[in-house]
């Protein structure tokens, strides 16, 4: 693999590449994200943002209590979020645990959802604490069952102890496994990396290793996709595009529960990475509760009043 010519796969070249990155000033990043949160998105732009956000949702269920029935319901909802209104777009993907991928694949195909992505969380999600053979087998299972997107976690322990090359090599191996069969999203668990410097470093590491998407969190750790963390990642993909002419996607996940939060994310994308990233192929929002709030707000814009929650489905 060529790694965009940025590194040669050796520890020293990786250290040199990461060492050349400029730092992130936490106060400044927080301030910029807070300023962008004041943008007032109204009327036609709000309508556009709601539909765009729906099409970017990775509709997620990642629970120990997941059953085939639950996953099937989720898939139906993903294809037709509002059964009474066909103008509502499908979501970007459904996101499930590995053992549910086969169920989801079958049901998506059954309900005409071939266009909806199927993401599997992989590599011993959420902690990533397993041996590499296990992680590889885990990923292979998901691919065999028909996943079109692999959401892998990085080894945060290795990252925090400075073993960047281990983190890099794991991503490279999973990337090779995915080949052309699946998009690779790399989850950092930013709540465990804790500093914006680490988020920036992890972003550039994952992009060079072959990630198609960089993703904030598993949803199991708080804080997750805070606006400044997403800002730092959007700056990273923007800068990486300058370096390589390749656009890498960003997926915030965790803590984005309502339309207001989702629109703030779109503003961050628009004014940081740029409007080119405002497409489901380059920006996704990992969420479960968010979709219903988007649907409620969409109905409100059409009807002029808030409908009862009974009018949106709970699947």
């Amino acid at each position: 693999m060529s790694f965009y010519g940025l590194v040669d796969g050796s520890d020293s070249s990786l250290r040199k590449y990461l060492g050349a990155l400029s730092g992130v000033d936490q106060v400044g990043a927080d301030a910029r994200a807070a300023m962008l949160a004041t943008r007032s998105i109204k009327t036609s732009s709000k309508r556009w943002a709601i539909d765009t956000a729906i099409s970017m949702v990775d509709l997620t269920t990642l629970e120990g209590a997941d059953t085939p029935g639950k996953v099937q319901a989720l898939c139906t909802k993903a294809v037709r979020p509002d059964p009474t209104n066909s103008s509502v777009p499908s979501v970007g993907a459904v996101c499930v645990y590995n053992d549910m991928v086969a169920v989801a694949r079958k049901h998506l195909d059954l309900v005409g959802g071939a266009h909806v992505g199927l993401a599997a969380v992989s590599t011993a999600f959420p902690s990533g604490r397993a041996s590499m053979p296990v992680k590889i087998q885990d990923t292979q299972d998901a691919l065999d069952a028909g996943a079109s997107e692999i959401d892998m976690v990085i080894d945060r322990g290795a990252f925090l102890s400075g073993n960047y090359i281990d983190v890099f090599n794991e991503i490279v191996q999973i990337r090779e496994l995915c080949g052309t069969k699946a998009h690779l999203k790399v989850i950092f668990e930013t709540g465990e990396l804790t500093t914006y410097d680490n988020v920036r470093k992890a972003s550039f590491l994952a992009m060079a290793a072959g990630a198609d998407f960089i993703k904030t969190s598993t949803g199991k750790i708080a804080p997750a996709a805070t606006p400044p963390v997403v800002l730092v990642m959007l700056e990273a993909v923007r800068d990486f595009y300058q370096m390589t002419q390749t656009r890498i996607g960003v997926k915030p996940a965790g803590g984005i529960r309502n339309t207001k939060d989702a629109i703030k994310q779109l503003v961050l994308v628009n004014e940081t990475a740029g409007p080119e990233w405002l497409t489901p192929s380059l920006f996704r929002i990992g969420a479960s509760a968010l979709l219903n709030d988007l649907l409620m707000q969409r109905m409100k814009m059409d009807d002029g009043y808030y409908a009862s929650p009974a009018y949106v489905t709970i699947d």
Binding site: S22, D25, A29, W48, T52, E235, L278, T279, S281
Partner: protein
């Protein structure tokens, strides 16, 4: 949804129904609004709409205001305990917060600054100055300035048009906390929020004559400066007028503080956090249309990162939303007056003629009103006029350096010394540079941050004295280090 549609923000205008602007205003003297004799129009610089007629104070008006202030000083304010004065200041601060939206809308209409800035910066900071100084009123002997300090008496205060309400707060709050009474003159193009503040004084039942507001132009200012009944002058404005005031008060007993111009250096070292430095550069020069005396108007860039920074800066500047100041998403509003716009154009033209390279962000400027796009000049040297003179607009001069010492030498090579910025992730470099820079305010990894507890003021021709904090308080007390 795969088709790319741009995320256009629909107009999000703040409503102006919250303010009622009278067709004509008088002065506020002795607790009452009194009619003026001559008037001049005040306009909305974003539309050139005439908002109201403002009274032009002559000698009789200034005499009456000084007389009212003196009476209030001798009969009421100087006799009142600090604790009671503090109560009035707290009350004013609370009313300003309650009427914040009104102040913000009026400031934006009269000044042209974006509603986001008047709402999020000017008005909250103005209230914060009153809260901060309210706390000092009964603790003056614990301010470390000695136990026998006394107020000056009547303070004459002349403020500029760039932060009309905020500059009023910087002047009035410490003066009142220290026990002075005031005669204040707002800038001729931005009197409306000062007149609304007069209403707040009435609402707070501030004793008559403690705050007097006369409106007018430079001639009114001269009457205040030269008035024998005034004990202290506080001025914020241009260095040129500051020098005239200094000459005028030199042979008198008057105390004086001056907050004047600046040409601040914003120094970007190669080890800076570049993305945040870009935000700092933008905030440093494009905040408030660059109508900021401490604006970071000289960008001093380390050559090793100059290309990267300039490329990122231009991209970022292209995103600045220029237009209707009442729109909540506007980043850069209108230039405050035609006169100021002409000055910005003239100085920018010297940048072209002296060989610097101009780049302006592509943006559609409204047809009516006074507008100037966010602009940078590269290839600027110390001898360019745009590197030496204050432009007071959204125009940034970019210079480069090779070694840290060269950055400091260039930064200090100016008659001004109000503020400076240092961008580096290396703590020792920040500490070293801040000791070398000759400027009153030095920001590290940030810019244009203000707080009532922090003294603000300049070295060299950027002014005399400080405002804010204990240092600012001392300017309104005598018996501090002299007499």
């Amino acid at each position: 949804m795969e088709t790319q549609v741009s995320f256009e923000y629909a107009p999000a205008p703040e409503s102006r129904s919250v303010v009622s602007i009278k067709p004509k205003y008088g002065h506020f003297i002795g607790g009452k609004f009194v009619a003026g004799s001559k008037h001049f129009p005040t306009i909305n610089p974003a539309t050139e709409e005439v908002l109201s007629q403002i009274a032009l104070a002559g000698k009789a008006d200034v005499d009456a205001a000084v007389k009212a202030a003196r009476k209030a000083y001798t009969t009421t304010w100087s006799k009142m305990s600090g604790k009671e004065r503090g109560k009035y200041l707290f009350r004013i601060a609370r009313i300003m917060q309650e009427r914040a939206r009104e102040f913000a809308v009026l400031e934006t209409l009269d000044n042209g600054k974006p509603i986001r800035e008047s709402r999020d910066v000017d008005v909250p900071l103005a209230a914060a100055h009153f809260f901060y100084h309210a706390g000092w009123a009964d603790k003056l002997e614990f301010a470390g300035l000695g136990t026998s300090t006394k107020p000056h008496g009547v303070a004459g205060q002349i403020i500029p048009w760039n932060f009309p309400l905020l500059m009023l707060a910087w002047k009035v709050a410490p003066a009142l906390a220290a026990g002075n009474t005031v005669v204040l003159k707002p800038a001729e193009s931005t009197s409306l929020t000062a007149l609304l503040f007069a209403e707040v004084c009435q609402q707070a039942e501030l004793p008559a004559g403690v705050v007097n507001i006369v409106t007018g132009d430079g001639s009114t200012g001269a009457l205040i400066v030269n008035h024998p009944g005034i004990d202290k002058i506080a001025f914020t404005g241009s260095t040129e007028v500051g020098k005239i005031i200094a000459r005028a008060v030199a042979p008198t007993q008057k105390s004086v503080t001056l907050e004047l111009g600046g040409k601040a250096a914003n120094i970007i070292f190669e080890d800076a956090a570049i993305d945040e430095a870009i935000e700092g550069i933008v905030n440093g020069i494009f905040f408030n249309q660059g109508h900021v005396c401490c604006a970071g108007s000289r960008l001093i860039l380390q050559e090793s990162v100059a290309d990267e920074v300039l490329e990122k800066l231009k991209k970022r500047m292209a995103q600045i939303r220029v237009g209707d100041p009442m729109d909540k998403n506007t980043d850069l509003g209108a230039i405050n007056s035609k006169e100021q716009l002409l000055k910005i154009r003239e100085l920018s033209a010297t940048g072209d003629s002296e060989g610097a390279e101009r780049w302006s962000a592509p943006c559609d400027l409204p047809k009516k009103g006074f507008w100037f796009p966010p602009t940078i000049f590269t290839g600027v040297t110390q001898s360019h006029r745009i590197a030496r003179e204050e432009i007071f607009g959204p125009v940034l001069s970019v210079l480069t350096f090779r070694t840290p010492q060269e950055a400091i030498d260039k930064a200090n090579n100016t008659p001004f010394g109000l503020s400076a910025g240092i961008w580096s992730e290396k703590g020792s470099r920040i500490l070293w540079a801040s000791q070398q820079l000759r400027a009153g305010v030095i920001w590290a990894n940030t810019f244009n941050k203000f707080d009532p507890t922090s003294p603000f003021g300049g070295y060299k021709e950027s002014g005399w004295g400080r405002e804010g904090g204990r240092h600012g308080l001392s300017a309104y007390l005598k018996g501090v280090g002299h007499e």
